[in-house]
Symmetry: C2
Subunit: 405 residues, 2 copies
């Protein structure tokens, strides 16, 4: 059964029942273009929660702390700052992250163990605890505070990234909200993907873990800005059960509706991140179909969307399809050159691995548009995957080579 899922106008992380948020400018992120750099998300009812963290072997202190606190405990809040990653900061960094949670807990009036922490910003510098302390005291939580939280997480993102959907399946109705930040890196080192998701659905924890992994695999794990993985990456979901539904269990129609809704929120936010990659002017969407397995399709799609040569060609609206073929060829995915069909939007540039005559002006017109859809039909099987990225511009380099000295 297809679930009834609707995007909520001006939806945010506080759209689901019982979630409150607020933010302030604490002075941590000197270049905060959103005017905010410290925020808190709080649920009035205890949440079950699960998260996926960076695969980088260098893990930031807030990641280590939040990983520990998520081991089977309930969660009530998360405090987040931009401007300083609190990564490569040793034991002092861990003590600072712990104190940051303590301060947020005290301000809200809850137990410190129920608070998680996330940070994004420059690697290697200590958290300015005086600013954090003074800032947390300023934060006022409200049911409309989701939009402020979205702005407080931004580093050099040019836009806040947030959404919410309302879902109905059988008798139950629930809401899922989400907020994310991507990699805008005007100030060197600000490269972290953070995403917080909230829901008022009552959900079985094992199902929630599985659902989050599935949604992330087809959304955030299919985005590449520049191939660099931050030590601070984190995708968290908190479920407070205030929708009053029967807890969602695997293999039910409710579970199917929840998964569809979560997928839509995550894919929406992932595309926001790709579109707002640093220096980016275009969203690139690469779909690989006809692959012999989903793994091969994912590998091929991700390799094409992250190829610097493909990204630079699209920046220049240059219909260099050979670069796309070369990228899919080196991806490691099983491909047979003489079977590959290549499309830009609905125009076939190469059939069976060989170029077709095509209207260069028409293709260039598509390449100049803000969303560039590329598709590859491998003609080997039935598996497919889609990946998102952005073009590579001179501005990317300018952004990332600014002098600290």
């Amino acid at each position: 059964m297809e679930a009834n899922i609707e995007f909520i106008t001006s939806g945010s992380i506080t759209s689901p029942q019982g979630f409150h948020a607020g933010a302030t400018y604490a002075g941590i992120n000197k270049k905060a273009r959103s005017g905010l750099d410290l925020g808190i998300l709080f649920s009035e009812a205890p949440c079950i929660a699960t998260a996926l963290f960076t695969t980088n072997r260098i893990k930031a202190a807030p990641v280590v702390l939040s990983q520990q606190r998520l081991q089977g405990r309930r969660t009530l809040a998360i405090v987040v700052n931009s401007g300083c990653a609190n990564a490569c900061t040793g034991e002092q960094g861990f003590a600072d992250a712990t104190e940051m949670a303590d301060l947020a807990a005290e301000s809200i009036g809850i137990s410190p163990e129920d608070v998680l922490v996330a940070s994004t910003g420059v690697i290697g510098l200590p958290l300015p605890m005086k600013l954090i302390k003074a800032g947390i005291e300023q934060i006022v939580l409200s049911r409309e505070g989701g939009h402020e939280l979205a702005r407080a997480m931004m580093t050099t993102d040019t836009l806040p990234k947030e959404t919410a959907v309302a879902a109905r399946a059988d008798e139950s109705e629930f809401t899922i909200g989400g907020v994310a930040k991507g990699s805008g890196m005007i100030h060197p080192e600000l490269a972290t993907m953070l995403c917080f998701l909230t829901t008022d659905a009552a959900v079985d924890i094992d199902f929630l873990k599985l659902a989050l992994r599935k949604a992330v695999d087809i959304s955030f794990n299919m985005v590449s800005i520049d191939g660099d993985t931050s030590p601070n990456d984190m995708v968290l979901i908190m479920a407070n059960g205030l929708a009053g539904n029967e807890p969602i269990l695997p293999d039910t129609s409710q579970a199917s509706a929840f998964q569809q809704a979560l997928d839509q929120v995550c894919v929406h936010l992932a595309k926001c991140i790709a579109r707002d990659g640093e220096g980016a002017g275009k969203l690139i969407e690469v779909t690989v179909s006809g692959a012999s397995s989903v793994t091969e399709a994912r590998l091929a799609a991700r390799t094409v969307v992250s190829s610097p040569l493909v990204k630079a060609a699209i920046h220049g609206s240059d219909p260099n399809w050979g670069r796309i073929m070369a990228a899919v060829g080196r991806s490691g995915a099983e491909v047979v050159e003489s079977k590959i069909d290549l499309y830009i939007d609905n125009i076939c540039l190469a059939k069976a691995g060989y170029q077709l005559p095509f209207d260069k002006e028409e293709v260039a017109r598509i390449l100049r548009s803000p969303e560039v859809p590329i598709s590859l039909q491998l003609n080997l099987g039935t598996a497919a995957a889609t990946a998102w990225g952005c073009d590579l511009s001179e501005e990317y380099v300018a952004i990332n080579s600014q002098y600290m000295t």
Copy 2:
């Protein structure tokens, strides 16, 4: 025993005895800044030969043809062009590559099966066979022609890349010459690494295969310009035995001398390629030591040297050591954050994973120099590896986003 190995002033691919070369401008590469785009290398005595080819599953026609011809046959010559890769060109491409070998064989007066072919340039376009035919008729071979061949292989390389060494071990003396082209991609799609090596040493074929693999592993396989692998990549060695030595067998002092000499030639050419990466202003050399295995050391060094964020920071002479830590952390190599020491030249920026106070002006001075040495001591074992790359500049993007339309 340390072999006696000396670089030859103005050495080239024709420095070893019995090798002849020549080149012409055939009009294939309209933007040939070297003024040449078609060349032939010929040995007056039959060569044993072996080569390593691209790992891209999309293989250019000249790669497929040369792979077939190297199956146990002797080799006498290779004909090479720039401006057109003859890749993604189907059966016509293979027929064109075969005809190109036929034309070269006819011009030299040898059998077509003894001729290999290499191409570099735009992917997806057919070889202009009329220009190739007329060009081959123009080529005059000479013992000094190595320098011309080096220029004919250039696409947007700013300098030809060639060298030769003379080696002496025990009673025998021999010479190894080498020529390479790298990835300068001012004209879209010109991204191929080609390297031809010659020697007058008599060499056992099994030893030669092993020696080439070893040399390439520590040289060309440790270079990254932008992570894209061309369908045309090729490293070929031809040995004609005219030095008159006893054929070199494994595990002899001659073998050791040959390996050392070959390593030096390949590392020299690999560094030339990195230094001349498109848009590059600096050579970056990353050495990882104290790794638990050579595989881990290689992985870590290659990941750091190819990180866009590290490359952009070095372009801006920005001492953002956190980016280097983040790259090594995501490399997949075994690392423990609290054990890593990080140096730029001989200045320690981080000890045991934690920042040290350092002279930012002095570090910025090193980062502004044409060669930037970075070293990471993982303090886990005794294995080490070095990788080479270049900075990421706005010019890289400008070069690769030019309109074809």
